[in-house]
Symmetry: C2
Subunit: 208 residues, 2 copies
């Protein structure tokens, strides 16, 4: 921040707020989310850890899931992807998921997503990556495809594994020709496989 | 190394060789493999970079691919997995690949593999990860499934993406219940999807 900027409270594209306070809240959030996951971490506890009022946390960051996204430095609220999926019939999720996700990775948000993913898997943030998969992706997607009952979580995790693998190969390792394929062709190639995980037959014994 | 060990040239489980010389060879190999890939790096060039004779490199590390495996700190020669695949009919590769790979990751070699993978994707070694995928995995597997001609590489890369994703979710992020499933069930769940990538229909326009 330059000297000329120091006095400005509200900058375009960034919520208002004293940046020391914001950083204290994010540090408290990262610590608590990493230790206890998302469900068992309250905004109140994050606020207490940062020495601020819970209302201020809501004011700066919105919902708990938005706070989590900010804590893991996700450049986009995962709900902007996941909420539209709620209106997609499960038979179409296999194509819809990668069709929405890949263009985001291909966009100007991609660099931030790559940095976040590399940080999550290389560093001390593996607990946060696990919470993201388990408490956001599996919750949202798994609950839609829990058929027969008890299979939803593992269905969603196999979907996540294929999406994560494509993201790794295409955006992190950048292996050709996968890195240069149009997003639409990648989506169409993996869609039937994602759909099988979501609604297809699974081997015996996979349900708990 | 303790003082008592210092004089020993040959330790169990490790090839003979002066460790300074070995390290110089490995440093030269990493640099050249990262810059030029595997195919365009010669043992002679690695030897020259380390100031030793090419015969010594062969003596310490074996083939160029074994040298590459040592350079990326792979605790197992990838050919011990890939060579048996040559005898597996392509229609069975979808099940055979994960059935051989996952038990290795579940074995005592797993910790070393996890460390290697995390190093490859987090650090400055992305070029080495790319070479591994492009010049070893794609070469070995892609050449078996190049039908219609021109599709072999991309088929192999989608297979690699699913395998990498499962490895990430199961061994790096360790998300449950995927992390605790028996390897056999994981293999059977992903096998039909791998097989589709290997020999199934692909979307139009995917072949070059």
């Amino acid at each position: 921040m330059t000297a000329a900027n120091t006095g400005r409270r509200r900058r375009p594209g960034r919520p208002a707020g004293n940046s020391d306070t914001r950083d204290r809240i994010l540090a408290s959030a990262r610590e608590l989310f990493a230790r206890n996951g998302i469900d068992r971490t309250s905004i109140r506890a994050v606020a207490a850890g940062a020495g601020v009022d819970a209302a201020l946390v809501h004011h700066y960051f919105g919902t708990k899931q938005q706070l989590f996204a900010a804590a893991i430095r996700l450049p986009i609220d995962p709900m902007t992807v996941l909420v539209p999926m709620r209106e997609t019939p499960v038979e179409e999720l296999g194509l819809r998921l990668p069709s929405v996700l890949l263009p985001i990775w291909d966009s100007e948000l991609g660099a931030g997503l790559i940095a976040t993913l590399r940080g999550l898997i290389s560093g001390a943030d593996l607990n946060l990556a696990r919470s993201f998969l388990q408490e956001i992706v599996v919750e949202e997607v798994g609950s839609r495809v829990d058929n027969p009952p008890g299979t939803g979580k593992i269905r969603a995790l196999f979907v996540a594994s294929q999406l994560m693998g494509v993201v790794m190969a295409r955006y992190i390792v950048q292996v050709e020709p996968l890195a240069s394929l149009p997003a639409e062709q990648v989506a169409q190639t993996i869609a039937p496989n994602l759909q099988r995980y979501l609604t297809g037959e699974l081997p015996d014994g996979l349900a708990p």
